[in-house]
Symmetry: C3
Subunit: 150 residues, 3 copies
């Protein structure tokens, strides 16, 4: 993979992350699901995730009614290519959740550890793991640790 191709593909991969957040914040779950390969693996927390696109779609139910609004800010995106069509991606997220119920906003500070794959000219999530750095008033109690050194 030459230098120019790497830069182009990196931008396309960043866009994948941005589109995920955009569709999530806009409550458009079917467009979120289209960003994943059929045999995807997703883990938001222990016992909260999915294997395969049909199971993943189920985890997206309720975004519209559980939250009044969400805002997902992605940054610090680091792409490491395995080959021309597969890459590991590490990034961080600030996610604010305003609930339909009267309660304080839930704030999540986390890392996304993604494996992305290019399928028919489009980058998609093959696996996506959310690791939690810390959280405030967040409704998900369990979390995948980031593995901070003690």
């Amino acid at each position: 993979m030459d230098d120019l191709s790497k830069l182009i593909e990196e931008r396309a991969i960043a866009r994948l992350l941005y589109d995920y957040s955009y569709y999530l914040d806009m409550n458009r779950p079917s467009e979120m699901a289209a960003l994943f390969v059929d045999e995807c693996k997703v883990s938001y927390a222990p016992n909260f995730g999915a294997e395969g696109i049909e199971a993943y779609k189920k985890t997206l139910e309720g975004i519209g009614t559980f939250f009044r609004a969400t805002s997902h800010h992605n940054s610090n995106i680091c792409v490491d290519f395995i080959d021309d069509t597969v890459a590991n991606v590490r990034s961080i997220v600030l996610a604010i959740h305003r609930y339909a119920k009267e309660r304080s906003d839930g704030i999540l500070y986390g890392q996304y550890i993604d494996r992305v794959r290019k399928v028919d000219h489009l980058w998609k999530f093959e696996s996506r793991e959310l690791r939690t750095t810390m959280a405030t008033d967040y409704h998900v109690r369990q979390s995948n640790p980031i593995g901070r050194a003690p």
Copy 2:
């Protein structure tokens, strides 16, 4: 527009967004205004915006005295070129406002929907619309909605 040119122009457009935030946080309104074309259209909220650079400059009055400090964090920048000199840009912003008055910080979570144009080798804002995802203790009561699906 070839691939390399797209990457170069994308960086220049991101820089435009960053410079806007920098000059805003530094309270340098005349340098902010210089980032807009003369016939610009700006909407921060219904009844809060401007058409034309002279009207826009008026909206910038009072940054220095109304706020003690602001911090504008831009991310998730998505550039779609219309042609070599025009592009649509979608991005998100986290904006913290510390008021001169004693009151809680106003926090805005929003989307910027921009049209940018290259004029004399420089990218400038042709139109800029702020859409509000949610806000906390923010002084602007009305807002342009992001259009989240119900």
Copy 3:
């Protein structure tokens, strides 16, 4: 420096900033120190900084025990090259600090003003100055000002 090289080096410099934040949040101070040149100058605040790598390493002691978690979000990265191996970098940071002690999270909104240098094919920090836009419940009382116009 041709256009393609600039883009490649910019990405490498952004990665330097991201790796700094990653190792900080992961409490891996020796990997943080490796991102600085031996004769580095660092200023986090007046009377809180270091000259030279050995002094810098001392400032990193206690990350592991003073904080339970931190999350550093870098954005608005602006790279200006001086020549092929030196660049000035301006960026902003949102940094959340959860303390080991029972107290509110310390939040810092700031600018990083960096000078980076390419040494043996790797970009490193030659100087790093943190300027504080504002802070909330943060343990560091003094700060370098951003120089916001009055």
